[in-house]
């Protein structure tokens, strides 16, 4: 059924066992984003090292399984990559989410984040998936010296 395709096992796993959750020091930028329609919120920090390497993405927040799992997947994908690489993943993820379920996901780029493909069919939930990813993009921009 439709719902089953949205609540992929991988999403539920990340929701139940979030990776990298909790705000940590040191960080270069901290942002707070909210989704006013449902009250989901996230505080997110990034620490960028030499050559644009993302040393840490830490976060805390509250919300539905989709928003919380998306933050966990983001943490895994971004940490250890570079600013440039991670932003291209954000762009691809955004394209997938805004594609109304008509966009073929690039698994090479997205990795585990392809699990969210089913969410794109539910316009009301797309913002949930994008909340932490938009916060990350914002934080990276703000962290630039």
């Amino acid at each position: 059924m439709i719902g089953e395709s949205m609540y992929q096992e991988l999403i539920l796993e990340h929701y139940k066992h979030p990776q990298g959750r909790g705000l940590r020091e040191p960080y270069d930028a901290e942002v707070h984003h909210v989704n006013p329609t449902c009250g989901d919120e996230i505080t997110l920090r990034v620490k960028v090292g030499d050559a644009g390497k993302i040393l840490d993405v830490s976060y805390d927040g509250q919300g539905c399984s989709i928003s919380q799992a998306a933050a966990s997947v983001l943490h895994e994908l971004a940490t250890g990559s570079t600013v440039e690489e991670s932003l291209s993943v954000v762009d691809e993820f955004t394209r997938l989410m805004q594609g109304r379920g008509q966009v073929e996901a690039d698994e090479e780029v997205l990795g585990d984040a392809v699990a969210f493909a089913g969410v794109a069919k539910f316009p009301a939930r797309v913002k949930c998936a994008l909340l932490s990813w938009m916060a990350y993009k914002d934080a990276v921009v703000r962290s630039a010296p």
Binding site: I2, Y7, Y15, K16, C38, G39, S65, I66, R125
Partner: protein, 418 residues
């Protein structure tokens, strides 16, 4: 069932929407009437027929259609006045919804063109609301407080979802008290007589947001003891776009107009105007004609069933739901857990599962439509330390079988997130 005369299966046949299925052949289980109710054939057909055969503008057209439209529109006012026991039909003012009715009254206070002492408002004066209000009974009063410098105060809510009447929130400085008759989240029915007594003893006026009570209980505005009552059509099997303000004539007469425009005047000069008597003083511009007529038909429909029977049926459903939901150990009801002083709206949380996930799975897999979120009552949710709840709300067309479907769905939700 409730009585031999109340046949829910027969009632369901009056509502065309219950003959449809959702995609993938799921049955529709509509438990979101607190949000908006479904419409019976009588309302749909009355509106269609008026548009098809009688439509014209009201009050001003000097021809047959104008007369027919005016008669139907004013006839709807008579029906609604009768339905809520208004002492005079002229006390029934059509608005576009309950929010507009609440704003209309809020704008009568602290208005420089109104010198009636009951409506003057300034620094040191008080407006009293409650923590369980819908945003539409909070924001208009916040705005009034900002415009005038008056102090906004509120009754708190107890842990079991009752108005906390232990504090003396209403004082001699209070000018207006505005509270929900029935909470749109908790289902709590507030003690209006006691509140009205306190307000009037303090020399204040009292308004009720009756959006969640008029559709579900026999309500008699004259017996309630309130000064103003607001409710909306779309929650009482009528159309959207039409709401009602009832107010005592002497107060409505003392209030300034809210919106200016056509049909609310007596005479207009370039530099000033005089105004029509109530209710027209408050009905500027072409009103929602067909919507008002549709609401009249809704009132006919509900009267035909009998509001006592509607109330009794919902009470039975609520008792059944409160019992059935106990089957889920991690479910916490936000609001009264007993039938006493409550209506057919049950809000709850499931431990560790966000309401948006609950609502999504109930809808996608079981066709169960509930509302999830803060239900336009964010301060109430903050009071309980939660961001959101899942809310099931019942109406005359719901069945115990639908509550069983809800409980089955909730068990599945728990399994998904176990």
């Amino acid at each position: 069932m409730t009585s031999t005369s109340f046949d829910v299966e027969k009632i369901r046949k009056d509502f065309p929407i219950f003959s449809r299925e959702l995609p993938d052949g799921r049955p529709l289980v509509y438990l979101d009437s607190g949000n908006s109710s479904q419409k019976p054939e009588l309302v749909i057909e009355t509106m269609r027929e008026h548009l098809a055969l009688h439509y014209s503008n009201v009050g001003r057209a000097m021809h047959v259609l104008g007369a027919e439209s005016t008669e139907a529109y004013e006839g709807a006012r008579d029906k609604i006045a009768g339905f809520v026991g208004a002492p005079s039909r002229d006390e029934v003012i059509f608005t576009k919804n309950a929010s507009e009715a609440l704003n209309l009254v809020a704008y009568a206070f602290g208005n420089p063109i109104n010198t009636d002492p009951r409506f003057t408002l300034g620094p040191g004066d008080e407006i009293v609301i409650s923590e369980m209000e819908h945003h539409s009974n909070i924001v208009p009063w916040q705005l009034l407080s900002q415009r005038t410098g008056a102090t906004l105060k509120w009754f708190g809510v107890t842990d079991d979802g009752r108005l906390d009447l232990s504090a003396d929130v209403i004082t001699e400085r209070t000018k207006i008290v505005s509270v929900a008759h029935q909470s749109n989240v908790l289902g709590t029915v507030n003690p209006v007589a006691e509140l009205a007594r306190r307000a009037h003893e303090a020399g204040a006026l009292i308004m009720l947001d009756a959006s969640q009570s008029v559709p579900h209980h026999p309500v008699n505005v004259a017996e309630l003891g309130a000064d103003f009552v607001a409710f909306t059509g779309h929650k009482m099997v009528g159309p959207s776009g039409i709401g009602v303000l009832w107010g005592r004539t002497e107060l409505l007469d003392a209030m300034p107009p809210f919106l200016g425009g056509g049909e609310m005047i007596e005479a207009v000069w370039m530099d000033h105007s005089t105004y029509a008597p109530v209710p027209h003083k408050f009905e500027a511009g072409t009103p929602p004609i067909v919507e008002a007529i549709g609401l009249g038909a809704a009132v006919d429909y509900l009267t035909g069933i009998g509001m006592d029977a509607v109330e009794a049926h919902e009470r039975e459903l609520t008792a059944y739901a409160l019992e059935a939901l106990r089957d889920l150990p991690s479910l916490r009801i936000i609001g009264p857990e007993t039938l006493e002083g409550r209506g057919g709206t049950v809000a709850f949380t499931l431990e560790g599962i966000h309401p948006h996930d609950v609502g999504q799975i109930l809808d996608d897999q079981f066709g169960v439509a509930v509302r999830v979120g803060h239900h336009c009552a964010r301060p109430l949710h903050l009071r309980f330390g939660i961001p959101a709840t899942t809310r099931a709300s019942f109406y005359l067309y719901n069945t115990t079988g639908e509550i069983d479907a809800l409980v089955r769905g909730l068990h599945h939700v728990q399994k998904v997130f176990a």
